[in-house]
Amino acid sequence: MTSYQSLKPRVAQILKTLLQSKQAVPIKKLAEKFDVSSRTIRYDLDDLEDSLANYDVTLVRKPHVGIFLDSTEEKLKEVATELVDLHSYQRVLSPQERKYLILLKLLRSDEPIIIKQLEAMLEVSNSTVIKDLNKVEAWLEEYDLELIRKTNYGIELAGDEMNIRHAMTAVLEETADEEELISFLSQIQKKTLEDKRLETGFLTELDKLVGDLNLAKIEDIVAWAEKELGFQLADGAYAGLLVHLGLAISRLLAGKDIELSEERRALLQESPEYDVAQEVGEMIEEVFEVEVPISEIAFITLHLMGAKLRQHWDQAEYDDLADTDLPPELIMMTKEMVEVAEDYLDIRLSDDEQLMLGLALHLKPTINRLKYDLPLKNPLVVDVKEKYGEVFAAAKRAAKILQSELQKPVGQDEIGFLAMHLGAAIERRNSNQDFPRLRVALVCSSGIGTTNLLATKLKKEFSDIEIVEILSAFELRQGEVDLDEIDLLITTVGLEVDFCSVLEVNPLLSDSDKKRIQEFIEQKKSDYSFDSGKKQTTVAKHSINLETLLKIIERKADVKDKIALKKDLYDFLTEREIDIIDKGGNQQEAEEVGPELLELLTADTIKINSEVSNWQQAVEETGGILLNQDSITDNYIKESLESINNQGPYVVIAPGVSLLHAKPEAGVLKQDMALLVVPSGVEFGHKNDPVKLIFMLAPIDKSSHYNAMVDLLKLIDNRQLVDKITSFDNPESIIAKLKDMI
C-alpha cells in the first residue's frame, strides 16, 4: 500500500469530492473549488486514475458532463476508507493545527499523555512537540487551566471542570466554524451517521470527544427544549447547545461534574429557563442513565439563556415582541447605545424600528452572556472590522454603555455583533425602495445580525429581487417550507437541494457573490422575458449636505466668500455624481443651494428713510445702498427705473411691498439685496399702494436667488409684515424680526 502515500493532499480532496457527489462533476467546478486551473485538475486526475487502478475503480471523463467514478458500491467504500482516511493526516500540519490536536487529545484523555505519543500522532520531532506544548500551555492559561509536565509520567491537564468544559467548547468553536458544525449536525439529522464519512479532521475529534453518545437522541432533547422555551434557536445556538449537552453528558458519564457557587445557582434558579433546564436534566437522566446534579442543571440554564433568539423580520412579529418581551430598561439602554453610535457616525438611526427592536432583542441574551461569563464567538468579527471599520468603532463606543452598566468587559466578538446590527441599519437607510421581482428565500445559519445584514445588503444591491422568506437550514431540510413560489434560494450554508436554484454566498456578500446573483437575475430575466425595457434605477452611492460640509470647512478655515464657495462645491460634487441633499434628505437642485435672504440682506443693506417723495426717488435711494456696497453699477439703477417705466408698476408684489430689479447684465457685480423702509409710504401707481418696504435684488444669474425668494415669499405671506417692520427705528432690530419671521 506504500504507493498511496504519494497521493497529494489535493488529489485526495478531489477523490473525496467525487465520492461524495452523486452526479458527474465538471472539471471547471473542481478547478473553482480548489482554486487552480482546469489544466492542473486534469493532471491531478491523471494521478488519481493511477491510484484507483488498484481498486477496480474507473475514473470516467465524459465530455460536456464531467468526471465520475464507476465501480461497485463496495469498491467505492473501500476507496473511501483506505484512500481518503489514510490521507487525512498525510499532509504537513500547521503549528496552529498541531496546537489544537494536542489540546483535543489532552481534553479527552483521562490518563497522562507521553510526549512520544504526540510525536507519532503529529509526525514531528521531540523539540517541535515541546515548542507546541508551550503554546498549548499559554492557551490553557486563558481558561485557568494548568498543563502539568512530569518526567517519566507524561503531561496532563489540571483545573476546574467548568473551565475544562469552556476550553472544550472553545477548541471546537475555534477549529470548526459554525457552518461546519451545522453541516455535521445535518448529517445527524439525515440519520446517515451510521455510514458517516465525516469531514476528516476536527469534526471527527468532536465525535471522539463526545464518545459513543447517540447524538440523535441529544438532538431530540434540544428540539424539545426549544419548544418548551417558546422560541426557535438560531442554527448556531442550536449547534452550540447540542455540543454543550453532548460534552456535559460524556463528562458526567466519566464521573466529572462541575461546581457552581451557591450564590450563582440561586440566581439562576429564579430564571424561567431553569424549569426547562430541569426537565432537560430529567430527560438526560432517563435516556443516558446518568445522574445530573444541580450544578449541571444550572449550567444548562446558562446555555439556554445565552442562546440567541432567531428572528423573522416581518412587522407583525416585531409588534408582538415589542408588546410582550422587552423591559423598559432594556429599551432605554438600546436607545442610549444607538444614540452614541449616531453621534459618532453622524447618521440618524434611532428612527429605524427594525434596528431598535432587533438590537434590544439581541441585547437581552447578550446581557446574560456577559453577566455569566459565557462568551459567544463571532465568526465574522474580522470581516466586520475590515469592511465596516467606522461602524465597528461606533459599536465599540456604544458597548461602553453596556460595559459600565454590567461592570463587565465587552469583547471584540460582542462588539462585532453590535456592529452588524448598526451596519444593517445603515444599509437599510441607504437602500432604495424599488419594486422587487425575483422571489428569493434566504437560508442562514447564524443569528439575527448576519441574516439581517445579508437581507438588507441583497435588497440594496439588487432592486430586482424580493426576499420573501428567511429560513434556517434545519427548517428547510424538514420540508416545512413551501418553496413552489421561490425563484432562488440564497444560502450561507452548504445545501443539497435539487428542486430549486441555489446560490451559496458569504454572509457579507463578496463581489463574486454579487456577480453570480446578478448573472442569475440576468438569466432569469431573459428566460422569462421580463420586461427588459425597464431601466434599472441606479442609486447614487453618496450624498452630502452642503451645510454640514461648510461647517467642517469653517472650523479650520476662514471663508472669504461663503456663497461662492457653496456654489463651487456644488458644481464640483455634482460633477462627480455625488448628490447634494438638504437636511430632510431630499436631493437639491443647483438653485436650491443658493444663499438665503438673510445671507444677502444685512444690517448694512437696510435703510430707514421717510424723506422719500416718489417712486423714482425710492428706486434711486434703494439702488444707492447696493451701489455703496459695490454690488451694482449706476446703470443697474437706471435700468431698474426704465423697466418700471416700460412695464408698469408690477414691481409691487404685495400690499405695501415692492421688489425692484433689472437683469444681471445691466450691472450686477455681486449677488446682493437691499431694503428701504419708508414708514410714510410711497405711491407706485398700483392698487397695493402705499409701498412702505422696497426690496432691491441684484441677481447674479437666473436662479441663484431661489432660496432668497423662497424666504421673501414666506415674509409677504405674513400680512402683518409691513406694520411690524415699519415700527422699528434701526436695521439691527429689523434683521432680528425678519429672522424671527422666516
Binding site: Q647, I653, H661
Partner: protein, 96 residues
C-alpha cells in the same frame, strides 16, 4: 412630463416667486412636472403645456402663445389662488 413656464418681465423676481408656489402646489398633489422661469422676450421661442403670468403682461404673452395655454395669476403670493388656477389648468390638460 408636464412643463410649465412662469413668465414675467425679466424672468427673475416675480416669476421666481410664482414658480416657488407652483412647485408647492404640484408637490402637494404629487404631480410630476417641471417649472421654470422665463422673461417675456425669451418665452417666444419656447413651448410648454402651461404659461403662467400676471395681468400686466398677459396681452403681450397672448401675442406669442396660445391663449388657451395661459393662466393669469393676480397675486402669486396667494397660494390659494395659485392652487385653484394651476390645478384647474392641469385638469383641463388631462381631459384633452
Amino acid at each position: 412630463m408636464l412643463k410649465i413656464y412662469a413668465v414675467c418681465g425679466h424672468g427673475l423676481g416675480s416669476s421666481m416667486m410664482l414658480k416657488i408656489n407652483i412647485r408647492k402646489v404640484l408637490k402637494e398633489k404629487s404631480i410630476e412636472g417641471e417649472v421654470d422661469t422665463v422673461s417675456l422676450g425669451e418665452s417666444s421661442g419656447l413651448d410648454a403645456d402651461i404659461f403662467v403670468t400676471f395681468p400686466d403682461i398677459v396681452d403681450e404673452l397672448a401675442n406669442r402663445h396660445d391663449r388657451e395655454k395661459i393662466v393669469v395669476i393676480d397675486d402669486f403670493s396667494d397660494l390659494e389662488e395659485v392652487r385653484e388656477k394651476i390645478l384647474g389648468a392641469v385638469d383641463k390638460l388631462n381631459l384633452n
